[in-house]
């Protein structure tokens, strides 16, 4: 544990030197001939799409890949060679010199032990401390990671904390022994943007204070711009390019990097200005919700208003983006529109068919609505071939719309329309890639000629480059068929690139709505502003300027949620 604090980027000495790293599982080569360095105090971001080998690389540094992985090459940490792995040497390094935090803090913490117990346990594993001293040190760490009310949280179980709070606990655990290197494997991917911004701030502060290096794994270029000093782009287990963050963003050398960067939806983009605004007049309203309310009842009698007096009307040919953080009620609103949830209050009319709460059945089928799901994989029956899945949807809908054609030829044509080969007709869902599955989901949603499509985070599970092509497809089809659309997303930049109207939700209420360009340019509501401020922009210079401004106002500009 060195006490001196490193400057941001010292010359010379390397903390970690990876040379010619090869990782294979059986005959499957995951990482090929990878070399990179990390200097003390530096943050290196490894970026890549799924399957690029970025996480495997990170895990290999701590020997966490399990017995099936064969790791060759050289991993030098402070001049000490780690390959081939030696259990005692790894145990000495893990937690003491090199620590790791993961994407799902909930999964990384043991659900049956209290937060404090787990943290103190980790501390006592590494340092010879009495239980009282360990508790003292744990409390100190919880304060250091700015966990609110640490004395209370200490005796709570993981399920009682929010995702952001759990990630703080994980970070406290990781820095308990002042490691020299912190590996962060997508630590903010599962968090809301405002929470993400605070976690990134925390990491940056801790790094400045303790002088540790960070290896940051991510797929998000906004996060890269925000936190990295240097970037390593990976693809198919190989290094594509590496360089200082400003250089990589302003002058990417490789075409793959350029492609990735161009695929990032950007608030600065002109996308939403180009959209034709040929909206139907007010008489052509597809969805009309008035004063809709849904209340969920908890086990102990507590109530939660998932939707609270929501009024919204959507016209034919209009794309409305619903944005908000988790728990804002945006998905609930989508499910109500799709007829999957019954309402307690108000009324919903689709194509003039009115349904009113409270009461009525669990599910009310409305022929004019269809849906594209976030989990493309889960939305297809794993036991049915693609063609059969599409045919089933058509057959069911034909009871209400006899004009629908459910012949095999027509289904193949539907596949072609979403850019899929007709051979996929006879495949099972697991044989398709994520992007292909979502295309099938879109084909199915549009096959029944809906007047309203609810798209619930349709691209959030996809890689950026795939996301881009799927979005382009969706937009093209929307303009071709002119259906009304509710596009639910947590990503404001994505909302900006696809919608005519932006609806911002928070805690079951609509806090702001208006033409997309207008809301983004002049957000009227404080929550909308906080949301906009929290999005890391894929531009290091801009991001640095925003950060400086944020510190000057004392961090008060961020949202109210922890």
């Amino acid at each position: 544990m060195s006490d001196h604090i490193h400057s941001a980027r010292p010359a010379g000495g390397k903390l970690l030197a990876v040379r010619g790293l090869n990782i294979a599982f059986g005959d499957k080569k995951i990482v090929k001939d990878l070399s990179f360095d990390i200097t003390p105090g530096e943050t290196l971001a490894i970026v890549g799409e799924s399957g690029s080998g970025k996480s495997v690389t990170a895990l290999s540094l701590l020997g966490l890949l399990g017995p099936r992985a064969s790791v060759t090459g050289s991993i030098g940490f402070q001049g000490e060679e780690l390959v081939p792995y030696d259990f005692d040497r790894l145990t000495r390094l893990r937690g003491n010199e090199v620590s790791i935090i993961f994407q799902e803090p909930m999964a990384a913490l043991n659900p049956v032990y209290k937060i404090g117990q787990q943290l103190a346990g980790v501390i006592r594993n590494h340092l010879k401390l009495s239980p009282a001293e360990a508790r003292e040190r744990a409390m100190e760490l919880l304060r250091k990671v700015k966990l609110p009310m640490p004395e209370i949280k200490y005796d709570q179980f993981p399920f009682e904390l929010s995702g952001g709070q759990l990630q703080r606990v994980m970070i406290a655990m990781a820095i308990a022994c002042c490691p020299k290197l912190l590996i962060a494997d997508e630590p903010t991917t599962a968090l809301d943007v405002t929470v993400q911004a605070r976690i990134l701030d925390l990491l940056r502060e801790l790094q400045a204070e303790m002088g540790m290096s960070i290896l940051f794994i991510t797929h998000d270029f906004g996060v890269v711009a925000d936190i990295a000093d240097r970037v390593l782009v990976m693809r198919h287990g190989e290094k594509v390019e590496t360089g200082p963050v400003e250089e990589l963003f302003s002058a990417p050398r490789e075409s793959y990097t350029r492609m990735l960067l161009s695929a990032v939806p950007s608030l600065k983009g002109k996308d939403f200005l180009e959209k034709p605004a040929e909206l139907a007049d007010d008489s052509d309203i597809v969805l009309d919700m008035r004063d809709v309310g849904i209340t969920f009842f908890g086990r102990r009698g507590e109530t939660m208003k998932a939707l609270d007096g929501v009024d919204i009307a959507i016209k034919r040919n209009e794309v409305v983006a619903l944005v908000g953080e988790s728990g804002s009620g945006k998905s609930t609103l989508g499910n109500v529109a799709a007829g999957l949830l019954r309402i307690n209050r108000g009324q919903v009319a689709i194509d003039g068919i009115v349904r009113q709460g409270p009461g009525a059945g669990r599910h009310i089928h409305t022929p004019g609505v269809s849906m594209v799901f976030q989990d493309a994989n889960g939305s297809l029956n794993p036991r049915m071939r693609i063609g059969a899945s599409l045919r089933a949807a058509l057959k069911w809908s034909r009871r209400y719309k006899p004009e629908l054609d459910c012949s095999d030829d027509h289904i193949r044509q539907l596949l072609a329309e979403v850019g899929l080969a007709p051979e996929l007709f006879n495949r099972f869902p697991h044989e398709l890639s994520g992007g292909q599955k979502q295309r099938v989901g879109i084909a199915r949603a549009l096959s029944v000629k809906p007047s309203l499509v609810v798209a619930d985070e349709p691209t959030s599970a996809l890689d950026v480059s795939v996301q881009k092509t799927v979005l382009e497809l969706f937009r093209r089809l929307q303009q071709q068929y002119g259906f009304a659309c509710i596009f639910i997303t947590h990503d404001l930049s994505l909302a900006a690139s696809i919608s005519n109207r932006l609806v911002v939700m928070n805690r079951g209420r609509i806090v702001e709505q208006g033409a997309t360009a207008e809301v983004l340019a002049n957000p009227a509501d404080a929550y909308t502003r906080a949301l906009l401020d929290s999005i890391p922009l894929p531009d290091p210079a801009v991001q640095r300027a925003r950060r400086a401004e944020h510190y000057s106002v004392g961090g008060a500009s961020y949202g109210s949620r922890a």
Partner: protein
């Protein structure tokens, strides 16, 4: 390896039960006091003869027929009833669910062997009674599995998709839910066949299963027990058949589950 061997072995056992009595020489019931206690390998009596001089192979074959038929029939009945109860309960929720699943809990709390003894004692031992008792005993297990699986499948997005496209309830149950819950049920069924044979043999051993002189494996073990010291093969041979059959059907479940899964069938 396992994929081919086990279904083949199970198939061979079923085939043996069907055609065995026709191809094995000798009458399972014909007594021949002169030729009693012939050792295994005697010409004409491949597995020897018992204390009445009856051909052991012929008796095993005849026993296989009764044994496997009882086990299969009771399993199929239990599977059907269990799926009906479990899926209905999970799909309707509310009051129906409560009544059905509490009923299943009550059934599960009855000690199986006691119930079997009670029913057989009341109605007298016969093949239909045995099948009925076994089916009754195994239904709650299937209902529980079907119930749990249906609950978990129901919450998946493809069921929501079906609802949105206006799928009728029966079509969702048959086309969407059943194919996705069948794999664990098949595994359960193969285990059930094994335990049906076990319980059937046990009842036979206690003299409450199939009525002598009709041969049953359990009864043969019981008869052979008396000559354990002098002629151990009389107990070992039927015992081996019981063990092999139970093992085969127990492990068969895994194989069936794998074969049903499109991911396993096609590889990755």
């Amino acid at each position: 390896m396992k994929r081919i061997l086990l279904p083949t072995l199970a198939g061979a056992l079923v085939l043996f039960a069907i055609v065995g009595p026709c191809i094995t020489p000798g009458d399972p019931l014909a007594q021949n006091i002169v030729a009693r206690f012939a050792p295994v390998g005697t010409p004409g009596h491949l597995l020897g003869t018992d204390n009445f001089g009856r051909d052991v192979l012929a008796r095993i074959a005849a026993g296989a027929q009764v044994e496997l038929f009882t086990a299969l029939a009771s399993t199929v009945i239990a599977l059907t009833l269990g799926v009906l109860i479990g899926v209905t309960a999970a799909y309707t929720r509310g009051l129906t669910e409560g009544v059905l699943m509490r009923g299943v809990d009550v059934m599960l709390s009855i000690p199986p062997l006691i119930l079997a003894l009670l029913v057989v004692a009341a109605l007298g031992p016969s093949v239909p009674t045995l099948i009925g008792v076994l089916a009754l005993l195994f239904t709650p297990g299937f209902a529980r599995v079907a119930y749990g699986q249906t609950l978990s499948v129901r919450s998946r997005p493809f069921i929501q998709a079906a609802l949105i496209f206006g799928a009728p309830r029966m079509s969702i149950i048959r086309g969407q839910i059943l194919p996705n819950i069948i794999a664990p049920l098949l595994a359960q069924a193969s285990l059930t066949i094994a335990s049906a044979i076990l319980v059937g043999s046990g009842l036979g051993f206690l003299g409450l299963g199939i009525r002598p002189p009709l041969p049953s494996w359990g009864g043969m073990v019981a008869d052979g027990q008396r000559y354990l010291a002098t002629h151990p093969m009389l107990m070992i041979v039927p015992g081996l058949f019981v063990v092999t059959t139970i093992l085969t059907f127990s492990v068969l479940g895994d194989t069936l589950r794998e074969l049903w899964d499109p991911r396993e069938r096609r590889g990755r």
